[in-house]
C-alpha cells in the first residue's frame, strides 16, 4: 500500500495532494523537481549532494542546487525546513558550531569550498552576509562599514573613506548618514541598522550576498526599502535570500526554491513557482494552505 503510494507520488499520478510531504516526514526521499529554465543560467554556487547534521539530528538531506550568477534566488519553506542552515552552510559559518557534521560539497565558481585545504577566512571574505536581526558592531557607523577592510589591515584613509561612501550609497544610506558617520551605530533605527549591515556586507565587494530573513525584524516601510535595495543590488551581486514572506520572495527574486524538512522540493523561476508549480505541495505552500 505504502509502496504503491510512493510510486504514484513519484510518477505524479493518483492523489498526490500533501502526500509527498507526508512521506518525507516519514523518511522517504524524492529527487528535487528542478525546472528546465535553470539549466540555461550560469551558476555561481553549486551545492552538491549536501547533508548536514546537528549532532544526531539531520537538518539537510542530499540538497542539490545551483545558484545563478547575478540573480536573486529565494529560499522559502516552513519554519525548521533548513533554509537558514543551507544559507549558513554557504559561507561556512555553521562550522563554528561544534556539533555540526557535513557531507557533500559546495562549489564557488567551480572551486570546492569544503576541501580541507580551503582557507575559510578567505572564503568568507568573498561572501557578504546579512542576518535576521540587525547586528551592527558596537562602534561608529563609519567603523562598521569599513570593518571588513580594517580586518584586512587597510590603513589608507582615502581608500577607507571611499569604500565607506560607495558602500553606504550602495545601501541607500549615504544621504541619511553622511553627517553622522562617527556616531554610534547602535543609535540607528532597526531599518537603518539592517541597511548598515548590508553596506558592511558589500564593503568587501563579495561575489555572493547571503541574506537570512533580512526583513523579519523590520516594519513594512523599512522592509520596502530593503526590497528596493535588493532590486538595485541585483546584477552586481548574486543574492541568496531566505524569507518567510511569500510576497517578498515573489517580489524580489528571480528563482525560488521550496524546502521542506531539510529536503529541497522544487526549484524554478519565481513566476512559475508561485503561479504554476509542478508539484501540488508547492502550490499548497505558496497559496498558504499550510506552513
Amino acid at each position: 500500500m505504502a509502496e504503491q503510494l510512493v510510486d504514484s507520488v513519484k510518477e505524479g499520478t493518483g492523489d498526490a495532494h500533501m502526500s509527498r510531504l507526508a512521506l518525507i516526514a516519514e523518511g522517504q526521499t524524492f529527487p528535487t523537481d528542478v525546472h528546465d529554465e535553470l539549466k540555461r543560467e550560469e551558476p555561481i554556487l553549486e551545492i552538491r549532494d549536501f547533508n548536514l547534521h546537528y549532532g544526531e539530528k539531520q537538518a539537510l538531506f542530499d540538497v542539490e542546487m545551483k545558484i545563478s550568477k547575478g540573480l536573486v534566488t529565494a529560499l522559502i519553506g516552513p519554519s525548521g525546513c533548513g533554509k537558514s542552515t543551507l544559507l549558513r552552510s554557504v559561507n561556512r559559518i555553521n562550522d563554528l558550531l561544534p556539533t555540526v557534521r557535513i557531507k557533500g560539497d559546495i562549489l564557488l565558481n567551480g572551486e570546492s569550498m569544503y576541501d580541507p585545504g580551503v582557507d575559510v577566512i578567505e572564503l568568507r571574505k568573498r561572501m557578504g552576509m546579512v542576518f535576521q536581526k540587525p547586528n551592527p558592531f558596537p562602534m561608529s557607523i563609519y567603523e562598521n562599514v569599513v570593518y571588513p577592510l580594517r580586518i584586512d589591515g587597510e590603513r589608507n584613509k582615502d581608500i577607507l573613506d571611499e569604500v565607506c561612501e560607495t558602500s553606504l550609497k550602495g545601501a541607500a544610506l549615504w544621504e541619511e548618514m553622511k553627517d553622522r558617520l562617527h556616531e554610534s551605530a547602535l543609535g540607528l533605527s532597526g531599518g537603518q541598522q539592517q541597511r548598515l549591515c548590508i553596506a558592511r556586507a558589500i564593503a568587501a565587494e563579495p561575489e555572493v550576498l547571503l541574506m537570512d530573513e533580512p526583513c523579519s525584524a523590520l516594519d513594512p516601510i523599512a522592509t520596502n526599502k530593503i526590497e528596493d535595495l535588493i532590486e538595485q543590488l541585483k546584477g552586481d551581486y548574486s543574492i541568496l535570500i531566505v524569507t518567510h514572506n511569500m510576497q517578498q520572495a515573489a517580489r524580489t527574486s528571480d528563482y525560488t526554491a521550496f524546502m521542506y524538512l531539510g529536503h529541497l522540493i522544487e526549484y524554478g523561476p519565481t513566476d512559475r513557482i508561485f503561479v504554476r508549480p509542478h508539484l501540488r505541495d508547492t502550490m499548497d505552500y505558496v497559496t498558504g494552505r499550510f506552513g
Partner: protein
Amino acid sequence: MTTTTKNDVKSEPVSRRRRKRSRASLFSQGEPMVWLTGGGLVISLLMIVGLLVLVLFHGMGTFWPSELPRFVTKDGQVVMGEVTRQQRYEDEDSGGRKLVRTGNFDLSGEHFRWIDDSSIVDRTLPPWALVIERTEWGIFYGFPKAFIFEGETVAADPAGVYEKYQEYHKEVSERRERRRKLETVDVGKVNHVLEKARLAIKSAELKYGKGSPSWERATKAYEAAEQRATEDFKDIRLKIDALNRSNARYVMLMETAQGQEKQVPLAGIVRAYPANSLDFTGRTTIYLARWIEFLVDEPREANSEGGVYPAIFGTVVMTLIMSLAVMPFGIMAALYLREYARAGTIISIVRISINNLAGVPSIVFGVFGLGFFCYFIGASIDQLFFAEHLPNPTYGKGGVLWAALTLALLTLPVVIVATEEALSAVPNSMREGSYACGASKWQTIKRIILPRAMPGIMTGMILAMARGAGEVAPLMLVGAVKLAPELPIDGIFPYIHAERSFMHLGFHIYDLGFQSQNSEAAKPMVFSTTLLLIGIVFLLNVVAVRLRTRLRKKFESAAF
C-alpha cells in the same frame, strides 16, 4: 465562557462551574514576596551601613581633642587625663567607672587607670592643663611651670610658658626634621655608596677570585670609598650635633597633677595644647593637624602614634602591582576558556576548579607564595643576579612584588569568572557578524568581543582590587611588616624596589589592635586606619569605575 458547546453542558454539567480562583490568596498577589525580599535587602543594608557608621563614627572621632579633667578621689589621689571609656556596673545604682588615660608613662609606669565614679570627690577642668604629644614615652599631661632657654628661666607663668612654646616650637621642629633627614636620607646615601663598593669586591671575588687584578682594584676603590664615607659621616655627625645643641637650649619645665616636676625638651614635643581652654576653632585646627600627621607622617611609638603614610603607600603600590599582574592572566585564561576551548568535561572540571580556588583560605595562598615566590623563584633570582649579596637575601624573602603576585593569584578566580561572564554576555550575533565579514577568531576577539566585554571585565577588576586591598593573612607571610624603614619606591636607583618589605594598612590594623604593647591607646587608631583603608579601596574603585565609564564611552556611545 462561550467556548463550551451545548453537548458538553449536557454530558458534564459540573464542568461549567468555574474553577475557584485564588484571588484572595496572599501569595497569588505576590505581596508577601515583596516584603520578604525587601526585608532581606533591608537587613543586608542595615548590617553594612551599621558597620560603616561604626567605623566612621570612631574613625572620625579619634583625633578630636577632648577635654582634660582632673579628678580627686576619696583617698586623696589626684588623677588627670582624658577619659577614654565609661562603663556602668550592672547591679549598682552608684554609676560605674571610667578609664582615664593618664599618660606620663616615664614617671608613673602606666598609661591608663580605672577610677570608680563613686570614689570621685572632685572633678575640675584646669585651664592650663597641657596635653603634650611627645616623640618618645607617649603623651604627657601636666601644667607648665617654666620655660628654660639656655639654662635660664625666661617665663614662669603658664600663659608665658605656652607663649614661648608657641614662639620657638616651629623652628625647633624644623631643626628636628632636618636632623631626621640627615640621619635617614644623607646617611642612607653614604651607606648606599659604601655598600656598593663592598659588593663590588665580593662580586669581583666571585667572578675572578681573591687576589685577581679586578679584586685588587675593587678593594682599593672600597678603601677610598670607606675613607670618603668616614669623612662624610663625620660631616653629617657635626651637622647633627650642631642641630641637637641648638635644640637642647629649649626646655619646658612641667609639673604633673601629682606635683612631680619633669623637664620636657622642646625638641621632643610634637604638639602641645591647653585642652580645656581651647575654643572650637582651636580644636578644629588640632583635629585637622592630627589628620594630616596621620596621613603624611611615619609612625612613632611602636605604630600606636604618628602617621601611617608608609602603610598607605605600601597598600596602594601593592594593589596596583597586583592589578597589573592579575589583569592579563585572568583575561587570557577566561578568553581561552570561553572563546577557544571546546566545551567538554575537561573544561567543566577546569571551571569548577577555578571557582573552588576562590574558596581556598587566603593563608594557604600566603604559604604558597612564601614557598614558591620567595623561597623558590626569589632564591633563584638571588643566585643568578644578586650572588654578591648572599647570604643576605634580596628577592629570596617577602617583598612587595611577591605579595602582589600572591594576591594576584588569590584574586585570579574573581577576574576569570567575571571576565567569562562578560564574554558570554556578548551576543553570538556579534561574533557571527564578524566572522561573516571574514574576520579571524583573534580579530573578532580583539575588535568586537573584548571592547564589548570590557566594562564587565573592569567590574571583575574592581572586585578583585577590593578583595586584594583588604586581604591581610597572606601578606603576613610574604612581605608585609610592622615597620618598614624604606618605601618600595624612592629616589635611589633603580627607584622601584620591588624586593623591599612594605607596610600595609590591613596588617597595620591587626598590628595596632592585637600586637601593640599599648593596645588601649592604639584602639582609636584601629578605627581611623580602618576608615582610611575603606577610603582607599573606595578611591581605587572610583578610579576604576571612571575608567570603565570612559571605556564604555570610547567603544560605544549608545546604550549598553
